[in-house]
Symmetry: C2
Subunit: 257 residues, 2 copies
């Protein structure tokens, strides 16, 4: 068996999400189908760094799979790209040893959330941004976000539909800036891991701070109260991009699950 790591990008618009579901097509199912064709019928399990929800995109999702033959990384990439639909792209394939695990050896992740802050929605961005036609105070939003840097219990920012008990995560970067060229307001989050819907609830709440609907110290307060119902709405999926997944040099004492 040969273990391969692949970095993939996808447009999540037409999928029920990364993971196989009974109610529609998934990225994972397309990967399974492509690998099945490459192996002339074998089912090859694919493991990703984590799930993404329906409509959420990826610039740099990471997967691994064990392949029954020793193929070149370029050959694997070309074969997969020729078999996958146009909205899924294999950007890079690498041979890794069996200690590498796309999910268990994750060190951290970067997410981007894009907001079209224009009066009318650009038809070419409707699938890739949240349309938010209201005035935003970016300084207030950045000040608010500074409070989430560090290790905190993010219960207020976690969907109640999760079964994870440990809600403590470390956020290392939380930036918001305005791109004057694209008229977009972009959020960047980095951390060791993120809870279910955490980025989208953070964005939904921070936009309310930017609108003046909530005070600037609101994220700080929400970290303390640990109550999802007090936080803002979950921002819609189409603005969210899993941008990059970071892996450590196999120091297992620091594994992040």
């Amino acid at each position: 068996m040969n273990r391969y790591k692949a970095i993939i990008a996808y447009d999540g618009t037409n999928y029920v999400g990364y993971q196989v579901q009974t109610n529609g097509n998934s990225i994972q199912a397309e990967l399974n189908k492509a690998l099945k064709k490459m192996t002339k019928g074998m089912y090859i399990p694919v493991c990703a760094s984590g799930r993404t929800d329906s409509g959420v995109h990826a610039n740099g999702q990471v997967i691994h799979f064990d392949y029954p033959a020793d193929i070149s990384t370029e050959g694997a990439k070309r074969a997969l790209n020729s078999l996958l639909p146009d909205d899924i792209l294999v950007k890079e394939v690498e041979k890794v040893d069996e200690d590498f695990h796309a999910r268990y050896t994750v060190k951290g992740k970067r997410y981007i959330y894009r907001v079209s802050n224009t009066q009318a929605i650009d038809p070419f961005k409707r699938l890739y941004t949240l349309h938010h036609p209201y005035r935003l105070d970016l300084d207030k939003m950045q000040t608010a976000l500074n409070a989430i840097i560090g290790t905190h219990d993010f219960t207020s920012f976690c969907s109640t539909k999760t079964d994870k008990e440990d809600k403590v995560r470390t956020v290392t970067k939380a930036l918001v800036y305005r791109d004057e060229t694209s008229h977009e307001v972009c959020f960047i989050f980095e951390g060791n891991g993120f809870l279910y819907n955490m980025i989208r609830i953070l964005v939904g709440t921070t936009l309310q701070i930017g609108n003046g609907l909530r005070p600037v110290n609101e994220l700080e307060r929400l970290i303390v109260v640990k109550n999802r119902n007090e936080a803002g709405p979950t921002a819609p999926p189409q603005g969210l991009f899993l941008d990059e997944v970071f892996y450590q040099e196999l120091d297992k004492s620091k594994l992040v699950q």
Copy 2:
């Protein structure tokens, strides 16, 4: 009656084209539907600068319509945008006098054609560019395009499915350049009018020149031979954008149809 001119943008992906057809949804049908709601049931004819094909986009299509009430341009824009789907945007509404006609008073048009010149297709560009993973000699392509500047018979670059007899058009701009940031090769064409599929056949042929499959003086030769079968393939629709429509100061002696 009050005549309104509107500049609209649309993502053509999910439409059979600008014009109403029996086999699917069209931009025009959506405009008619929105105007019908605004007037509580009246059918208001909408006239565009010209058709665009299925999958072709617009940054700046122009339409006009006669509205039974005297509404403000901001009000008309807001009402239309609230009634139109997210992939059609009214960018600007202007009151014009009855001499203005979206089609008959066109002075010229600008089209853009975008090509993703990367080995693999970016999933987020699949609906907005032609994927062309081959090496292109941009200098040769630009030299070739220089030959179409001016007034020529463009029969070789016109779909045989047209019923227009006059194939003479004036091209005032034909540029190709590489955008290093986006890894795109972009074509820009301006002229007083373009025949059916003319831009797409010009792009298909010029790409073959860029690939070395045709000599650099090929466009010159094709203008002379006046035979569609000798030109290259029609490039696919999704790379094409109607970028802007130009109108003259109502000098009817120069009308271009």
